[in-house]
C-alpha cells in the first residue's frame, strides 16, 4: 500500500467537536519524521480541497461527521476515484457537521464530476457530539483522538521510511 501524500484535517477549532480534524492531524504531524514527504494541513473551507489535493494520488481527510451514532464513533470511507461507489446517501448522511453549506461530501462529488478527484481518498470521520461556538472537544470525542490518530497513521505510515506502522 502506498503512503498517503497529503493528510488534511477539516474543521474549526473553536466550534467544539468540529475541531477534531485539526486536532487529529496535529498528532500525525508530531509523529512524522523529518523529510517524510507527507504534507499535513488543517483547513476550514472544503472547497479549497480541489486545489490542495492537486498532484496527490493518496489523500487522507479527517473531519467531524454527524450520522446519529454515539459521539466519538469512528467512521472510515474510501471515496477516491478508484474506489467503488458508496451507497447513495453515505456521505450525505455523514457530512453535515461542516459550518458551511458547501461541505466535504459535495466537494468530493464535485471533484469526481470534474475529474479532479485523486485515485485514493480516505475519509476518517469522527462522530461529533457538541458543535457549540467556543466549546472545546466534548469528552467522548477527546477520548477518541488517539484511536482516530491511529486509524489515520495506518494510512500514512506503511511506506514512509522510518515509520513502521
Amino acid at each position: 500500500m502506498r503512503a498517503a501524500s497529503l493528510v488534511l484535517g477539516l474543521g474549526r477549532s473553536d466550534r467544539g467537536d468540529d475541531g477534531v480534524g485539526p486536532a487529529v492531524v496535529g498528532r500525525i504531524e508530531s509523529r512524522l519524521p523529518r523529510g517524510s514527504g507527507v504534507r499535513v494541513l488543517a483547513q476550514e473551507d472544503p472547497t479549497t480541497l480541489l486545489d490542495l489535493w492537486e498532484g496527490h494520488d493518496h489523500v487522507v481527510l479527517v473531519d467531524a461527521v454527524v450520522t446519529g451514532d454515539p459521539a466519538g464513533t469512528l467512521h472510515r470511507f474510501d471515496v477516491g476515484a478508484d474506489a467503488p461507489p458508496l451507497p447513495a446517501d453515505t456521505l450525505a448522511r455523514g457530512a453535515r457537521a461542516g459550518t458551511h453549506a458547501f461541505g466535504l461530501a459535495t466537494t468530493v462529488e464535485l471533484g469526481r464530476a470534474l475529474h479532479r478527484l485523486p485515485a485514493r481518498v480516505v475519509v476518517v470521520g469522527v462522530e461529533a457530539g457538541c458543535l457549540d461556538l467556543g466549546a472545546a472537544l466534548s469528552p467522548p470525542v477527546a477520548a477518541s483522538l488517539e484511536a482516530a490518530a491511529e486509524l489515520v497513521w495506518r494510512e500514512v505510515a506503511s511506506d514512509v521510511p522510518g515509520c513502521a506502522g
Binding site: R12, D14, Q43, E44, D45, T47, T48, L50, D51, R96, T99, H100, A101, F102, T106, E109, L110, R112, A113, L114, H115, D132, L133, G134
Partner: protein, 437 residues
C-alpha cells in the same frame, strides 16, 4: 415536508435549507392560497461573540471576530478595525486604506464566485446543485472555481492566508506586501477579469421571475469609488448619515422564531430595509468603474434594480468591479508605506462599518481607559435582511400557490438564496418549513 391540517390548511416544512451558508429553517403557512405566516428560523446561540469580546483587549477584535465566518472574515476584520480606531481617535493613512481595499476585493471575488457558481447558478440552469451542473457543463464550474481561487490568492498575498487572514491588525497590517509579491497577482487577476466578464454574459442570459420589491435600500457610499471597505450610510429614501449615527436609526429586536435579532430602520415605518448587492448597486451605480458600468449595461441592468432574482447579475457586475479595482490598486501601489500606525487605547465608543459581500456589517465597541472592551455590538448583513427575505416569500408564495410542493419549495429556496444568506454570521444553522392550506 408537507402536512395537511385538520382545518384544511397545509404546512410546508423544509428542515435543511440547501445551498445557503450555514443552516437554518423556513416555515411558511398558507390558508386558501393566502399566506398566513412566514418565518425565517435561525437557531444558534446568537450573541456569543458579543459577550465573548467583553473584557478582551482593544487589539483583539480583528482576530476574534474574523472567526465568526470562513466566507467573510475580512469584512469582520475591517469593520472591527474602523470601530476600534474610531474609539481611539486614530485615522489611518491612505496607503493602509488602499491595502485594506485590495484585501477586501479578494474576499468579494472569492465569496461572489462561490455563491454565483456553486450555490445560485444551478437554480437558474435547472440543476439540483453544482455537482450536477459540473457533470454537464464542467467548463462553467471550472470558471467559477478559477475565480474563487483568484480571490483566495489575493487574500493569501495580502492577508497572509486565505481563510482567516493573520496579517491584519488594529492600525493597519503587521507587514505590507511588497510590489514583487503583488505583481505575481497580476496575471491571476487578468485571467479573473476575463472570467468575471464571462460570468456576466452567462448569468445575464438566465430567465428571471418577474418581481419588483419596494424595500428600502441601505448601503455605504464612500467619498470616491464603489463602496467596499468604508463609506457613509445612504438610503433609497434619500437619507444619509455617518456610520456613528447608525445606532440612532437602527433598531434591533427579537422575534420569537429566530435567535438572530431582526433589524428595522427608523422604527420600520417605511417597511423592511435590505442591504447587499442590489442596495449597493442601486445607490452607487454611478461609482462603478468603466468596465463594470459597461458590464452592467450589457447585463441589462438599469440604474435601479428591484428584482431580487437579478442579484446574481449584480454580483457578476461586482465581480468585474472587484477584479478591476484590485488591478487598479496594483497599478498605483509603491513600496515604502508604513504597515501600521500606533493605536493607543483611550476610553470611548467607536463605530465602524464596511460592505461585506452580503451587505453592511456594523461594529460598535465601548472601551475603558486601558483599552478593555466593556461593550460590543455586531450587526451582520444577514440579520438585517431577515425581514426582507420574509417579505419576498410572502409576495412570492401566493403567486406560486398552483405549483406542486416540490417546485414551490425549490422556488422558495431560490428566493432565499437571492440574499446569499450567511447564517454563519447571523448566527448559524438555518432550516425551511412551509405550511399551506
Amino acid at each position: 415536508m408537507n402536512h395537511r391540517l385538520t382545518d384544511g390548511g397545509q404546512v410546508m416544512h423544509v428542515d435543511t435549507l440547501a445551498r445557503v451558508e450555514g443552516e437554518g429553517a423556513m416555515h411558511i403557512e398558507l390558508r386558501d392560497g393566502r399566506v398566513i405566516d412566514v418565518q425565517l428560523r435561525i437557531y444558534e446561540p446568537p450573541r456569543f461573540y458579543e459577550a465573548f469580546l467583553r473584557g478582551r483587549a482593544w487589539t483583539e477584535p480583528p482576530d476574534i471576530t474574523a472567526r465568526i465566518c470562513g466566507i467573510c472574515p475580512v469584512a469582520y476584520q475591517m469593520s472591527a478595525c474602523w470601530a476600534i480606531e474610531h474609539a481611539c481617535g486614530v485615522t489611518v493613512p491612505e496607503a493602509i486604506r488602499l491595502m485594506r481595499r485590495l484585501l477586501y476585493c479578494g474576499e468579494w471575488i472569492e465569496s461572489h464566485a462561490l455563491h454565483v457558481y456553486l450555490l445560485h447558478a444551478p437554480d437558474f440552469l435547472g440543476y439540483d446543485g453544482a455537482v450536477d451542473l459540473a457533470a454537464d457543463h464542467p467548463s462553467v464550474v471550472e470558471t467559477g472555481l478559477r475565480l474563487k481561487k483568484a480571490g483566495n490568492q489575493v487574500m493569501t498575498v495580502v492577508g497572509g492566508r486565505s481563510i482567516h487572514p493573520v496579517n491584519v491588525r488594529v492600525g493597519g497590517f503587521h507587514r505590507m506586501p511588497r510590489t514583487s509579491e503583488l505583481s505575481a497577482l497580476r496575471p491571476v487577476l487578468e485571467q479573473a477579469l476575463e472570467d468575471a466578464l464571462a460570468t456576466l454574459r452567462l448569468v445575464s442570459g438566465f430567465d428571471f421571475p418577474d418581481m419588483e420589491q419596494p424595500h428600502e435600500y441601505v448601503a455605504l457610499r464612500p467619498e470616491v469609488g464603489y463602496p467596499i471597505e468604508e463609506g457613509r450610510v445612504v438610503t433609497s429614501s434619500g437619507r444619509g448619515f455617518d456610520v456613528r449615527d447608525f445606532p440612532l436609526h437602527l433598531d434591533e429586536y427579537q422575534v420569537p422564531h429566530s435567535h438572530a435579532l431582526h433589524a428595522r430602520l427608523d422604527g420600520g415605518t417605511r417597511g423592511p430595509y435590505v442591504v447587499g448587492p442590489l442596495a449597493r448597486y442601486t445607490l452607487n451605480h454611478d461609482r462603478l468603474g468603466d468596465l463594470a458600468r459597461d458590464a452592467a449595461r450589457e447585463g441589462g441592468l438599469a440604474a435601479e434594480c428591484r428584482n431580487p432574482f437579478r442579484s446574481i447579475v449584480v454580483r457578476a457586475v461586482e465581480l468585474v468591479e472587484a477584479v478591476s479595482e484590485a488591478l487598479r490598486i496594483l497599478d498605483v501601489w509603491t513600496d515604502g508605506a508604513a504597515p501600521s500606525v500606533p493605536v493607543p487605547p483611550r476610553a470611548g465608543e467607536g463605530f465602524g462599518a464596511s460592505e461585506a459581500p452580503r451587505g453592511i456589517l456594523f461594529h460598535r465597541y465601548v472601551l475603558d481607559a486601558d483599552g478593555v472592551i466593556r461593550d460590543a455590538q455586531i450587526v451582520p448583513p444577514t440579520s438585517q435582511n431577515q425581514a426582507g427575505v420574509e417579505a419576498d416569500l410572502r409576495a412570492l408564495v401566493e403567486g406560486w400557490a398552483d405549483l406542486d410542493d416540490h417546485a414551490l419549495q425549490h422556488r422558495c429556496e431560490q428566493a432565499i438564496r437571492n440574499y446569499d444568506p450567511c447564517i454563519s454570521c447571523a448566527t448559524h444553522f438555518l432550516d425551511l418549513s412551509v405550511d399551506r392550506s
